[in-house]
């Protein structure tokens, strides 16, 4: 695999699931990259345990930046997908040391929405988030093998995967829908 982040490097930090290293193309002096050790293209391809460890590692290296190089602030950023600025097809957290005069600004013009638009979005997100957490995270752990996974029984998951709740007959169309969703997701990977 030719993934830039999968290549061996000098690390700042590592644990069983994550690693942190200095960016080759730093935005600021003191720019670290935190990655899951197992290749995963986007956040949705990570299992919950790795997601937690990734955020913890980012928070730890952020503190180490504040303490070691005496910067005035830090940013912790995930660009999850091409449209969000992701340029390496391996999900990462960018941790930037910040100084008042470094010329970087995270600013956006706030969009004005009507109360009705806001209410609609609130409802849409609430409904989506109220759905039981599907085990799709595990399904896309190795997205490159999606085509193979189609023919696999749904039971091959990771150790923390729970047994499928739906009966096999019910599960089939659901999985197909999941698959097309994943295919769509994979297209947005750089």
């Amino acid at each position: 695999m030719s993934c830039e982040y999968c290549k061996p490097r000098k690390l700042i930090y590592e644990d069983d699931k994550t690693a942190a290293f200095m960016s080759d193309e730093p935005a600021t002096i003191g720019h670290l990259v935190v990655i899951p050790k197992n290749h995963a293209p986007i956040l949705e391809a990570l299992d919950d345990g790795t997601t937690e460890k990734l955020f913890l590692a980012a928070n730890k290296v952020s503190l180490a930046l504040l303490e070691s190089i005496k910067c005035e602030g830090t940013n912790i950023i995930i660009n999850n997908g091409i449209e969000a600025g992701q340029d390496v097809p391996h999900i990462s957290i960018q941790v930037l040391s910040r100084r008042n005069d470094d010329g970087i600004f995270f600013e956006w013009a706030g969009k004005k929405l009507t109360e009705e638009q806001m209410a609609t979005i609130e409802l849409q997100l609430k409904e989506e988030l109220a759905k039981p957490v599907a085990k799709k995270e595990e399904l896309i752990k190795e997205p490159k093998q999606d085509s193979k996974q189609e023919s696999k029984p749904s039971a091959d998951k990771t150790s923390d995967a729970k047994p499928a709740e739906a009966k096999p007959e019910d599960a089939k169309p659901k999985e197909a829908a999941e698959e097309s969703y994943l295919t769509r997701q994979l297209r947005r990977i750089p």
Binding site: I12, Y13, M22, E25, P26, A27, I29, G30, L32, L43, E44, L46, T51, E52, F55, L56, N59, S62, A64, L66, E67, S68, I69, G73, T74, N75, I76, I77, I78, N79, N80, G81, A84, G85, Q94, L96, R98, N100, D102, I104, F105, F106, E107, W108, G110, K111, L113, M118, I121, E122, Q124, L125, K126, E127, E128, L129, V133, Y181, Q185, R188
Partner: protein, 149 residues
């Protein structure tokens, strides 16, 4: 740097969490809530707030940070599925120098689409000479190793 001591009385976000100030809440678990940003970078922009008041992310205990991580992932996923976002940005600013504007630590989750006019997450790319790189590496690594001991 924002005030470090808990100030639930003055903090607007603590009042939102307690329900004294209204908000559009889309997510809640034991440790955090997700509300719609009233001044969104894009429609559907969510702020995830730990229920306990923390000024900066390094002050957030590990168990709360883990809950925030899962909330961020779930909200990002919901924006993609329910709002047809193509991508998402997840963003934390620690300190005014980093663009932090509120005294309550928060995670922004911003739904993104092609050509939506947001460009700040495309980071500038610089090169460090070997000497500066090694100096920096040593300083950060030493501190990190001390912390992990």
């Amino acid at each position: 740097m924002p005030d470090e001591k808990p100030n639930t009385e003055q903090c607007i976000f603590c009042q939102i969490i307690s329900g004294k100030v209204s908000s559009r809440k889309v997510y809640e678990d034991e440790r955090c809530v997700g509300i719609l940003d009233i001044n969104p970078a894009n429609p559907g922009h969510v702020l995830i707030l730990p229920k306990a008041h923390h000024g900066l992310s390094p002050m957030v205990p590990d168990d709360e940070m883990m809950a925030l991580a899962i909330a961020a992932k779930r909200i990002s996923f919901a924006q993609i599925r329910a709002l047809n976002a193509q991508s998402t940005n997840i963003f934390i600013a620690n300190g005014a120098a980093a663009g932090q504007k509120a005294p309550h630590m928060m995670i922004h989750v911003i739904p993104r689409k092609e050509k939506d006019g947001i460009s700040c997450f495309t980071l500038p790319k610089n090169k460090l000479n070997t000497e500066d790189y090694e100096k920096l590496y040593k300083a950060i690594k030493t501190r990190m190793d001390e912390r992990m001991r």
